[in-house]
């Protein structure tokens, strides 16, 4: 995906190893995630009805997903009635082709963009570049990522992996190549950095004739699109250009205006720990003498209906991209956003990417394992996505294969390569555990040979014993002690009875 942006990513464990070893990165991430996680907890605790809001958000999303076809058609009608044009894109290529065609039709070669994950998912900037069109990111963090020839590493704070010093250096070195250069003697104080970005961006806002955006929500009833943001740069982007093109995933639709009541409370509190986000922009088609005179909505599928077809996995489509799950995730905190090989990092990325893209690649097959299943993500998720449940479900798909939907067709997936030894071990363990006699024999053997057991392991187990010592095997397993002291006087018989029961 992503027009090559993330191509060639190593599998998660390898990418994570690099990140774990990078102390600056770890310090930046730790500081940022811990600060925001504490603030979020306080903002959520302020509401006495948080659990009910969470349940309502979950239900609204589930209901919409169940009737997605109906609401999308209603949305299309509402948008067109209001003077907009709706385009349907099945995949990244089609979406990019539609957008490039629309920009070309205006005769422009520059566009301004407001933070949109959907356009990053499809690699729109690179696709436009290939057509001779330059896309300028206007969200501050996106600007830092773009100027730094970098990739986003967080849903909400794409440059979370950078500290102030790094940002100053990027501005000094790169701004001139993209427009207004950084002021002389720029320091790393937040105010100066923000001012440099403001001046650089203002020039673009006033010049651009085409804006490209995403949307947080689309209201089927009225055809209204909604963007929530903190900086106001988005609003400039949405109102100053003559033509506005919004690229939005089909799962972002909600049925009615009143549904926003729930999400406009849960989203800002979960993401930036604010009671309300500073800027909420809403637009409905076009209006004479106000805002863009031409509006296009590109509805993006790109694996979403395939995901919808999966009973367990479809809950990932409830996601409102608040990023709370990233900020509490101990794995994200140490591995960094880039290790996930996608514009969607962290716990939600670990379940979304392998569904949108399939589990065919090495990175996508490794993502369901990028979690200790601690459940912190599920606990904070404002739409109650049971991320651990979906992770385990996708692990099953990786190791066992099975039925899935790809490109609208039911397909039978083969197990991913490299799990044969594990599968054999699991089967052997399963057999031993089904027969207590076998378990006991194994324990006895281990006890008898206990002096021979190394405290480091060979083979794949080396990963364990490289940093941790193994426990010593005890002289006597519990069941032997029990039998020795209680004479096996248990009410349920000894192991032979179960061994003989035919399983």
């Amino acid at each position: 995906m992503s027009g090559g942006t993330f191509v060639g990513m190593p599998a998660f464990p390898a990418a994570a190893r690099e990140a774990v070893g990078n102390t600056t990165l770890r310090a930046n991430l730790r500081h940022a995630t811990h600060t925001i996680r504490d603030k979020r907890a306080r903002a959520v605790a302020e509401l006495s009805d948080w659990d009910r809001l969470r349940e309502a958000g979950k239900r609204i999303k589930d209901h919409t997903l169940r009737h997605l076809d109906r609401y999308l058609v209603q949305l299309e009608e509402s948008v067109e009635r209001a003077g907009g044009t709706v385009h349907w894109a099945a995949d990244a290529e089609e979406a990019n082709r539609i957008v490039a065609g629309l920009v070309r039709a205006t005769g422009e070669t520059e566009v301004v963009k407001v933070k949109s994950m959907a356009t990053q998912e499809i690699g729109l900037n690179e696709a436009l570049e290939a057509e001779g069109i330059r896309a300028y990111e206007t969200d501050l963090a996106e600007l830092i990522v773009q100027l730094g020839h970098d990739r986003p590493s967080h849903i909400l704070v794409p440059a979370i992996h950078r500290n102030r010093g790094e940002i100053r250096d990027i501005f000094r070195e790169e701004m001139a190549g993209w427009g207004r250069p950084a002021p002389d003697g720029l320091t790393d104080t937040p105010a100066e950095l923000a001012e440099a970005a403001r001046l650089h961006l203002r020039e673009k806002f006033l010049r651009a004739k085409v804006g490209i955006s995403g949307a947080n929500f689309m209201v089927a009833e009225t055809g209204t699109l909604v963007v929530v943001e903190s900086e106001g740069n988005g609003r400039m982007c949405l109102t100053l250009p003559e033509t506005l093109i919004s690229v939005v995933g089909i799962e972002k639709v909600v049925p009615a205006w009143r549904d926003l009541e729930v999400f406009l409370q849960t989203l800002p509190r979960s993401s930036t720990a604010e009671r309300m986000n500073p800027y909420t922009s809403m637009w409905t088609g076009t209006t004479d003498e106000d805002g863009p005179s031409t509006f296009h909505l590109v509805l993006l599928d790109n694996g979403r209906t395939d995901t919808l077809a999966d009973e367990v996995g479809r809950q990932a489509l409830r996601c409102i991209r608040c990023s709370a799950c990233l900020n509490v995730c101990p794995v994200y905190e140490r591995a960094g956003g880039h290790a996930y090989g996608s514009v969607y990092p962290g716990p939600i990325g670990a379940i979304l990417s392998p569904q949108l893209r399939g589990t065919g690649s090495e990175i996508d097959a490794s993502l369901p394992y990028a979690s200790s299943l601690c459940g912190a993500c599920y606990e904070v998720c404002p739409v109650a996505i049971d991320i651990p449940e979906v992770l385990v479900h996708l692990r099953e798909r990786v190791v066992q294969g099975g039925e899935a939907t790809r490109g609208g067709n039911r397909v039978t997936l083969k197990p991913a390569k490299g799990h044969a030894a594990e599968r054999a071990a699991m089967r052997a363990a399963g057999l031993a555990f089904a027969r207590p006699g076998a378990l006991r024999a194994g324990q006895r053997l281990a006890s008898r040979t206990r002096r021979l057991h190394p405290r480091a392991l060979p083979g794949p187990g080396r990963a364990w014993s490289a940093t941790r010592d193994l426990p010593e095997v005890p002289v006597e397993p519990f069941r032997d002690w029990w039998q020795r002291t209680r004479g096996g006087g248990g009410g349920s018989g000894d192991d032979r009875t179960t061994e003989g029961n035919g399983r």
Partner: protein
């Protein structure tokens, strides 16, 4: 009250002392304890690694062994195995049914699920005790393991029990609610991240000045303890059952 001890395969094989402590503790509290010899493993490792189908016969076996009416309750000193039975067995049954394999598994696990308890839950909720008459003259810090904390919702039950222990000084663990990084096969599949998480947990434990870090799950303690010896930390890992089983008579003898 007659209780079946579900010790778990890890404890049976590697931590028999925890099992002996549970037997001693429950017997002291007047509970009639049995250890059904046919028990093996709840299937958690299979399930969590993606081998749900291989976990199914283990769930059936568990239900056969522990479902007997002869037991009023099934008690386990492992939060994650307790969560496997209580939370995931019913889900496995439902999944099997949805896949057109009938309701056999769901029916098989139904009787055993509601009567399975994690040890501290059993003590506080079923026996209604918080002071179990223990004596443990050490500084202790408590790590609430993820499954105990989030899947079972043990909340303050373990710390209430610990606070009632004579001689014990309970100190708060910074970042207590963060995962220690074990996660079963996660510890091997993502060894670097797992080790980093383990090391942070150990450093937090160290910063409390406690002699002992205790938890209600030996799997996590194995990971934390293995990291402790590697980092040459003075803190020792101890299962909560062993603390609750200790008495003054023993200490003085």
């Amino acid at each position: 009250m007659r209780v079946a001890l579900f010790l778990t395969c890890v404890n049976d094989t590697l931590y028999p002392g925890t099992g002996r402590a549970v037997v001693k503790l429950l017997t002291r509290l007047g509970v009639d304890v049995d250890f059904p010899m046919a028990q093996t493993c709840c299937g958690q490792a299979h399930y969590n690694t993606g081998y749900r189908h291989q976990a199914e016969p283990l769930a059936r076996h568990f239900s056969d062994v522990f479902g007997s009416d002869a037991y009023d309750a099934v008690v386990t000193p492992s939060g994650s195995c307790g969560a496997m039975v209580r939370e995931l067995y019913p889900r496995m049954g439902e999944r099997a049914r949805a896949e057109g394999r009938g309701g056999g598994l769901a029916r098989a696990v139904a009787p055993v699920v509601p009567k399975t308890y994690e040890l501290t839950e059993f003590l506080v909720d079923v026996l209604g005790v918080t002071d179990v008459g223990a004596y443990y003259p050490h500084t202790v810090t408590y790590h609430p393991t993820c499954h105990g904390l989030r899947a079972l919702g043990l909340a303050d039950r373990p710390t209430r029990l610990l606070r009632a222990v004579k001689g014990l000084e309970l100190v708060e663990l910074p970042g207590a609610e963060e995962c220690c990084g074990f996660g079963g096969t996660f510890a091997v599949k993502n060894a670097d991240v797992s080790a980093a998480m383990g090391a942070d947990k150990v450093r937090n434990a160290e910063s409390t000045g406690a002699e002992v870090l205790c938890a209600a799950d030996n799997s996590c303690l194995m990971h934390i303890g293995g990291t402790m010896t590697r980092l040459r930390t003075a803190v020792r890992p101890v299962h909560i059952a062993e603390i609750l089983a200790s008495t003054e008579e023993e200490a003085s003898s």
